[in-house]
Symmetry: C2
Subunit: 200 residues, 2 copies
């Protein structure tokens, strides 16, 4: 599928065919593409919790104000991030480069993130945002639709997925076979109010 | 361009043809696609500051530890967000839907974001992350390459672009004609360490 078409046709879908099952290969393909999304210093800070079991999807739907797309979707991806990925064997992020530039990168990386709690969190959200859009566009090209979500009980979902203390949940993306077309786009702010040249 | 190919071939490029100029229509197309990226409650909280003037690119390069891709790229997009977009005429985000559901959405939106300073910031980073990936993939399909960046002096760049008090800068994306191929990917963490089923 052409990328421009995928960007234009991607919409947040609220109703999926509950009986459709995605294959293992399809799910793997989406995740293999997701991890080609960029991250700062290549820290690959995202962690993806995938759910396809109906009983868990139903529970997650309850924790999402009962939103039906969560129980109806074929696949739920909870996009989390490891806030300390910058400090967990960073040499693996540049395994393929010579030792000298690698060591310089590691030093710079640690200096950038050490004790910078807000920056670590910003990085989690940025990385997961980029990966989420990759997932949604990849899904589109495979004949699926998606819905990005943050309207759920983060604390309860965190407990449910056994979220480690130094991780956080950024958002959720549900993927499945669309059961109902979306309404036309709700209301687009004109480009002239969103784009500025040189400065505000 | 096929979307799977675009996702696979997109790399962070560090050297661009400094003499290449993008047309107004090309820049407009990228921005028109960027604003089709999803945002929570359709708040369209991103704001895009675009820069093509050489003197400003050079200044931004200085503020980015001298990174040459900033001065060489044809287009710099500084992805900012309005932290209060949820409270600025939210009725326009659902102009096309009936009044009753629109009012319910506005009430829910305000309840979600009012006084939630960290959430407003998270939303800025998530929204800009998704839009950044749209920009980078759209650029790829138009024969361009890109580099997402956060390694710059946020405070000085904020002053330079006259960033309003209730906005923040999430990141920068530079776009241009690639002058040098990137090295092979530095080191990919195996999927098995990034993906979890049902829980960690």
């Amino acid at each position: 599928m052409d990328i421009i078409d995928a960007i234009k046709q991607r919409r947040s879908i609220k109703s999926f065919d509950k009986n459709h099952k995605m294959t293992y290969d399809e799910i793997k393909q989406i995740l293999e593409l997701a991890v080609l999304s960029p991250t700062s210093y290549n820290i690959q800070n995202w962690r993806f919790v995938i759910i396809t079991e109906q009983s868990i999807k139903d529970k997650l739907s309850e924790l999402s104000h009962g939103q039906q797309q969560v129980s109806e979707a074929s696949l739920i991806i909870i996009l989390c991030a490891d806030l300390n990925s910058w400090n967990k064997h960073p040499e693996r992020y540049w395994a393929n480069i010579p030792e000298e530039p690698r060591n310089a990168l590691i030093e710079s990386l640690k200096k950038s993130y050490k004790d910078k709690v807000q920056l670590q969190r910003d990085e989690a959200m940025r990385s997961c945002g980029m990966a989420a859009q990759t997932i949604m566009l990849a899904a589109k090209s495979m004949g699926y639709d998606s819905c990005p979500m943050k309207g759920f009980d983060y604390e309860s979902v965190g407990k449910m997925i056994n979220l480690p203390n130094d991780h956080l949940i950024s958002m959720m993306v549900v993927v499945g076979k669309k059961a109902k077309n979306p309404s036309p786009r709700g209301g687009q702010v004109p480009l002239s109010e969103l784009v500025f040249t040189n400065k505000f």
